[in-house]
């Protein structure tokens, strides 16, 4: 007579295995399937969010472009989205040429990347190739604090310290620096981006095979020659991908520019002047009391759509570059 080999209970139970050893009942299986379906539903929230973003931005933008032609928006040189108090007011319809905003955004981003790229790159190289491991363990997290500080804090710092310093410094050497200059906003934003650039550079450098480095050193290269001629070229795709990600972050950054850059939509590439950016205008258009269906508020969604698309392209390009590069060594 077959008995359950693992049963340690009385013989009367022997023919009937403990409940937990029975094959799962159909009901239990159904419950498990339901739970897995629930888990699946959880994983689709990310997709739903993306769909939500795209649908809401596109929907409102289409309504905006019914009022203002797409070409006027993308190529217009004049931005003054005021709402009319009286119907016959001068410029009552507002002007929605977004080129000054694009130029302002690019100007501030350029300043920021000019700061973040070399500083981030050099600190990552130094920490990866020169620094004592103990020193590295202290300095790396310290630099990463820069990325954890809320952006309002940077904005405040830009207003109370950096901007006055630049204005005074500019006066001393005979330049007139606006109190809300692109330079101040860009500088502070650049500092915020340093750890971002350095951590990606660090990943890329560490991924370069040791044999390449040893080969260069074995041929008599100095450490810096090895880094410049072997490590950086080998890590270049990773670094480039990191720069693209940094650019996408800088373009989408809001609070620093809202606080430290201005609202004046002048078309200029002078970093000492006040410029405005896409994100600043989104905030300006949507805060305060106003009706929701005016061209003014819809314009914010059109700008948002543009911002989303540009950052999306940058992100996807960056991820592609980094992935392609990884395949070379792994």
């Amino acid at each position: 007579m077959p008995t359950s080999s693992c049963s340690i209970s009385s013989p009367s139970d022997a023919v009937d295995p403990p409940r937990s050893l029975k094959a799962a009942s159909p009901r239990k299986k159904a419950v498990e399937r339901a739970i897995i379906a629930l888990l699946f539903a959880g994983s689709t929230v990310a997709v739903l969010t993306t769909i939500g973003i795209v649908v809401s931005l596109v929907f409102e933008s289409v309504r905006f472009f019914q009022i203002i032609p797409v070409t006027d928006f993308l190529f217009g040189l004049h931005w003054s989205p005021q709402t009319a108090i009286r119907a016959d007011q001068v410029g009552a319809s507002g002007a929605f040429g977004a080129v000054p905003l694009f130029v302002g955004t690019l100007l501030i981003s350029a300043v920021a990347l000019t700061v973040a790229a070399p500083v981030g790159l050099y600190s990552a190289i130094y920490l990866a190739e020169y620094a004592d491991p103990r020193l590295r363990n202290v300095i790396k997290p310290a630099l990463e604090i820069l990325a954890g500080i809320p952006t309002v804090v940077y904005g405040f710092f830009a207003i109370i310290v950096v901007a006055p310093l630049l204005t005074q410094g500019g006066e001393a050497i005979g330049f007139s620096v606006s109190s809300e200059s692109a330079l101040a906003a860009g500088l502070v934003m650049g500092v915020m981006t340093i750890p971002f650039v350095s951590s990606i550079t660090d990943d890329a450098i560490v991924a370069v095979p040791l044999s390449l480095k040893e080969g260069a050193l074995g041929l008599g290269a100095t450490r810096s020659e090895m880094i410049i001629h072997v490590v950086i070229p080998a890590a270049l795709p990773g670094i480039a991908g990191g720069m693209l990600l940094a650019a996408s972050r800088v373009i989408g950054e809001t609070m620093i520019v809202v606080m430290a850059a201005g609202l004046s939509a002048d078309l200029t590439i002078n970093p000492l002047a006040a410029v405005t950016t896409v994100t600043v205008q989104i905030v300006t258009l949507l805060t305060g009391d106003q009706e929701f269906d005016s061209a003014k508020t819809l314009a914010a969604f059109a700008l948002g759509l543009l911002l989303f698309l540009v950052t999306l392209v940058l992100n996807i390009a960056a991820i592609k570059i980094v992935k392609k590069y990884r395949e070379q060594y792994e």
Partner: protein
């Protein structure tokens, strides 16, 4: 010239280049750390003052006539006139009244409501000084453009009699926003932030864990899974303001949820935090060795039992660390909250998730925009409160990782 000579000739130049290269590295690190140091120092120096407050001792005769007319400000003014009887001109009197805060009248009203027996008696009260007096007194009464010479003399007289002193500014933590810098506090913003964080965690943690478990343990490797992954990675890099636009269009305009509510703020922040938690959760699950799963499966556990009884509990410290880091980021986030209207001037402390509220970083933004100089001090102080919370959260994440991390 032989090869060796040729190489040796170039060596000094190459060593100089090496030194230069190293110097750039050190300079880059130092400039980053220097910026960090200057930023923290200047904010601490600016903000430290806001944690103390100047108070003035007044002997107030609680006149029943004025109380019945609810003219509590009149009581305060009468007390000031009694202290400086020589002040008679109207302009001078106005200057005199400006020594103490408008909050003095509110405080007096509260005292009368609490204890109506004081009506008709003379009470001694410490009332807050006005913002300009507060700033001047804390800085040691030097030259001050915001105060007249006469006001400075009055202040010196009062402080000479020991009737002015600074005390810990408890009101900064217990009161809401105010137009008067000396009365403004972070309580509204702090409550709003805490409410938003609770909503954010309650939504993002379960959803994040569910998504991570599904993608790591159950999902087939197909195009759909890949699509979800691309989505998650991309969402992690979408500018935060775009999430604000999403919240405005979907939560407010489509579902008609209330503006300025911490509930909506928390929902928007949850969507932003979700990718962080999913990514952290997946790497924590991946770190659990397959032997654990195989052992569970081999003794007859179903795949679901394996995950929920064994894999997930072992991965939980990693998941929690990711959640705290994501939450810390959400706590400092401002831009999406501006989009959904959490940027109003709000005095009352919110009591529910649907009451209008602001959040700590939004309060920083609002105060940084205010013209009064005294708000600069408040802004820096609010930043310090925010940074303390961030520090605590990050420390919790580090401790959690150190304490529960299992190295397989």
């Amino acid at each position: 010239m032989s090869n060796v000579e040729h190489i040796e000739k170039g060596m000094p130049r190459r060593h100089r280049a090496e030194k230069r290269f190293r110097f750039f590295g050190v300079a880059a690190i130092c400039s980053g750390l220097l910026f960090l140091g200057v930023m923290f120092t200047s904010i601490i120096i600016k903000g430290a003052g806001a944690f103390s407050q100047t108070v003035v001792r007044l002997e107030i005769a609680v006149d029943p006539d004025l109380v019945s007319g609810a003219d509590y400000a009149g009581l305060v003014k009468a007390a000031l006139r009694k202290d400086f009887p020589e002040v008679s001109e109207r302009g001078d009197k106005l200057q005199l009244y400006k020594l103490v805060s408008d909050g003095a009248a509110h405080e007096l009203r509260r005292m009368v409501v609490d204890d109506p027996k004081i009506v008709g008696k003379t009470v001694i009260v410490w009332v807050p000084a006005s913002d300009d007096v507060d700033m001047a007194f804390k800085k040691g009464l030097t030259e001050n453009r915001r105060l007249s010479d006469r006001q400075l003399i009055w202040i010196k007289t009062l402080s000479g009699k020991g009737r002015m002193e600074t005390k810990f500014n408890a009101a900064f933590f217990t009161s809401g926003d105010s137009r008067e810098p000396e009365l403004a506090g972070v309580a509204t913003a702090l409550t709003g932030s805490i409410f938003s964080m609770v909503v954010c965690l309650a939504l993002a943690l379960p959803l994040g864990v569910m998504a991570a478990v599904y993608l790591e343990e159950f999902a087939a490797k197909n195009r759909w899974t890949e699509f979800i992954e691309v989505n998650i990675n991309n969402l992690a890099a979408v500018p935060s303001i775009v999430f604000g636009l999403l919240g405005l269009a979907i939560f407010l305009n489509f579902f008609h949820l209330p503006r300025s509510a911490p509930l909506v703020g928390g929902m928007v922040l949850a969507l932003m935090t979700l990718p962080t938690i999913i990514i952290a959760g997946r790497s924590a699950l991946r770190a659990v060795p397959p032997s654990i799963r195989e052992a569970a499966l081999s003794v007859g556990a179903s795949p679901l039992q394996t995950v929920f009884h064994h894999t997930l509990p072992l991965a939980m410290p990693g998941v929690m660390t990711g959640a705290i880091i994501g939450l810390a980021r959400a706590l400092g986030e401002t831009a999406p909250l501006l989009m959904i209207g959490m940027v109003a001037f709000i005095v009352d402390i919110p009591h529910s998730l649907l009451d209008p509220a602001t959040a700590l970083p939004v309060q920083v933004f609002l105060w940084a925009d205010s013209p009064e100089r005294a708000f600069e001090e408040k802004t820096a102080a609010a930043i310090l409160v925010l940074l303390v919370f961030l520090l605590l959260m990050n420390m919790a994440a580090v401790v959690l990782r150190k304490k529960f991390e299992i190295r397989w």
